[in-house]
């Protein structure tokens, strides 16, 4: 009897942390501290801007990773969701003097509602159809954005000033005006979002999502409200992507609709799969692939087209041989290599 009680309380299990778990936590903490305090001192302004983008896109790939890896919903329209978040944040930043975190929260919530309203009917579909309808919806949103444009301090509901003179930049929070400070700000927001996802994965929704991913009929038979938890995942992903859009608005100062083409959603899915959708590190790897590598190649004078080709090869490789992505494959291969080397030494 006592046994069943302890088993029913997962906290007692997690309190008994094992050594690898401790090492993992220590490494994560060290990396986070280094990113916050060491990295801005070491990098040039060019790379600080790039790393801010990495922080923004790690949230987007994190959200997409939750959908694809945890629940098994493939979305081909995440860049359109990001654009909605950026649009809402920019509109609110021009219209009000609210503090930045409030704006981010509002952008996330409004994007969440938008994502749920469009997503609820789409959730009737499954698998391939759901992926294609997100592509269609994203295409539609891109066309609307091209006509509506991003707010740039103009009047009216859309806030667009067509004459394109005296365009004020989108403001940043008072405490993070400079680029290094804004980088830290973006990283902290990203950490909050990662913590939010971690809290979900470790509790009831995470277990429900895992059941749904394994088999929807089995989850239904186990008494899991499949529609509720799918919608929950969609809401969480839209919220995080909306917040990322808000951070993006402040990072770039000016937003243009050509910055959010439909094909970027496809590339984004490719890097998310490459990074790995079953671990949260995969989101960071994916964001580095998506934003840091192009900046690096640009600095070296190599065409970014090579990267697109690499992403294409990466998708094929991940789908045929390594379903858990680079975040899983590289450490495992390194460990295997290490074992092999140490074996050779002893013999």
């Amino acid at each position: 009897m006592r046994d069943t009680i302890t088993r029913a309380r997962p906290r007692t299990i997690s309190q008994n942390t094992s050594r690898p778990q401790l090492i993992k936590t220590a490494i994560t903490t060290a990396l986070v501290l280094f990113t916050l305090f060491g990295l801005p001192e070491l990098l040039s302004l060019y790379y600080i801007d790039t790393m801010t983008q990495v922080a923004v896109y790690s949230m987007v790939t994190l959200a997409l990773g939750v959908l694809v890896g945890r629940v098994g919903l493939v979305s081909l329209g995440q860049v359109a969701v990001l654009a909605i978040g950026a649009w809402v944040a920019a509109r609110l930043l021009f219209a009000t003097t609210q503090p930045y975190p409030v704006i981010l929260l509002e952008a996330g919530l409004i994007t969440m509602v938008a994502g749920m309203v469009t997503g609820l009917p789409a959730l009737r579909l499954r698998g391939l159809y759901l992926a294609l309808i997100t592509l269609m919806l994203a295409g539609g949103i891109t066309v609307v954005l091209a006509t509506v444009n991003f707010p740039n301090g103009g009047h009216g509901f859309l806030g667009y000033n067509g004459s394109l003179v005296h365009i004020p930049p989108i403001r940043r929070p008072g405490i993070a005006g400079s680029d290094p400070a804004y980088f830290r700000y973006a990283v902290i927001v990203a950490i909050v979002m990662f913590a939010l996802v971690y809290a979900h994965i470790k509790t009831r929704p995470g277990r429900a999502w895992a059941a749904i991913r394994q088999s929807e009929p089995a989850a239904l038979a186990a008494g899991i409200n499949v529609t509720l938890y799918k919608l929950w995942a969609l809401a969480l992903a839209s919220f995080i992507t909306g917040v990322a859009g808000g951070v993006l608005a402040g990072a770039v100062h000016y937003l243009y609709s050509i910055g959010f083409p439909t094909q970027d959603s496809i590339t984004l899915l490719a890097v998310t799969l490459m990074g790995g959708v079953y671990s949260m590190w995969g989101a960071v790897v994916a964001a580095l692939l998506y934003q840091f590598l192009p900046a690096l190649l640009n600095n070296w004078g190599v065409s970014a087209d090579w990267l697109i080709i690499l992403f294409g090869l990466g998708v094929l490789q991940v789908l045929t041989t390594a379903p858990a992505g680079l975040a899983d494959q590289v450490p495992r291969d390194l460990a295997r290599l290490g074992r092999r080397l140490s074996k050779r030494k002893t013999t």
């Binding site: 309808i133 539609g140 066309v143 899915l269 080709i309």
Partner: protein, 298 residues
């Protein structure tokens, strides 16, 4: 609302565009039914073929027909090659995984095209067919032979594919595979060969579509690669099943898109036509709700 005469030229161009979407859509449906792969690289291989044709005609100076044949050959070879390598490797996976894998091919081709035929120089390429110049007039609307060919190709391919699936042995085998790959294999159908034939046929159609769209719309890697989304809309309306519905939906998508052009309040939104039609069709249409673990319902 503009006068009717403003709409007239767009009926012709819309029907031509719809014809190409129809032949693309039929290629996509047949491949999906036979192999379970929704071929998202359909536009990219067509674009690759069209750009190779452009290089042959404008840089190497070959006669036009060599370029056009090369366009179809490149698209067919790429599709066939992909099918041979990744078809069997992913045969037992979910249709979603198979479709996402073709996104990999799309990205490879897209990157290669941008690298080899760079667009940053500002020079716009075009691939004109000799049939652009001739033509005739119906009730004062100019119709070029290319537009006639585009619509005719859509009709002919749809009818021919329908007959092929119904009356030939290979077509029957493809229909059997659409129902159940394992049982078909048990009955002695050479599954791999039938799949290879479907890949080749789809590749040839991708080449033809690439050639016609390069002439009718624009010779541009991005445009041609993502025009597949319009055919995809037609395919989705047909639920990846019926080629007759695919044809009708493709014509409606092409026609409606072009007919919105003269309407000033909607002209900016006309590119949304395929998305809106497909989304509405998918969300409104009733569907069977069968839950099976082994197979995704079509």
């Amino acid at each position: 609302m503009p006068p009717w005469s403003d709409f007239e030229p767009f009926i012709v161009s819309g029907l031509a565009l719809g014809g190409v979407y129809a032949l693309s859509g039929v290629g996509l449906v047949v491949l999906y039914r036979a192999t379970g792969v929704l071929y998202l690289a359909f536009g990219a291989v067509g674009a690759m073929g069209a750009l190779v044709a452009w290089s042959l005609i404008n840089k190497a100076g070959t006669p036009g027909w060599v370029g056009w044949l090369a366009c179809i050959a490149v698209a067919a070879a790429l599709t066939f090659g992909y099918g041979l390598i990744f078809g069997p490797a992913l045969a037992r996976r979910d249709p979603l995984v198979k479709a996402v894998a073709t996104i990999g091919l799309t990205l490879i081709l897209y990157g290669a095209m941008d690298l080899l035929w760079t667009t940053s120089g500002g020079q716009a390429r075009s691939l004109a067919l000799p049939t652009d110049n001739g033509g005739f007039a119906i009730a004062q609307i100019q119709v070029t032979w290319t537009q006639v060919i585009a619509l005719a190709a859509g009709v002919v391919i749809t009818v021919a594919t329908g007959m092929f699936l119904r009356y030939t042995k290979l077509g029957t085998a493809m229909r059997a595979m659409a129902n159940d790959r394992e049982i078909t294999a048990t009955l002695g159908v050479p599954v791999r060969k039938v799949e290879a034939a479907a890949w080749l046929g789809c590749g040839v159609l991708a080449g033809i579509a690439g050639l016609l769209l390069a002439d009718l719309v624009a010779l541009d890697a991005t445009t041609l690669t993502f025009l597949v989304i319009s055919s995809l809309a037609a395919v989705l309306i047909a639920r990846l099943r019926s080629i007759a519905v695919t044809f009708a939906a493709a014509i409606v998508v092409g026609l409606l898109h072009d007919l919105l052009t003269p309407v000033t309040s909607l002209t900016n939104y006309r590119d949304m036509t395929p998305f809106v039609l497909a989304a509405a069709a998918l969300l409104v249409m009733p569907r069977r709700r069968v839950m099976t673990q082994s197979r995704e319902e079509a």
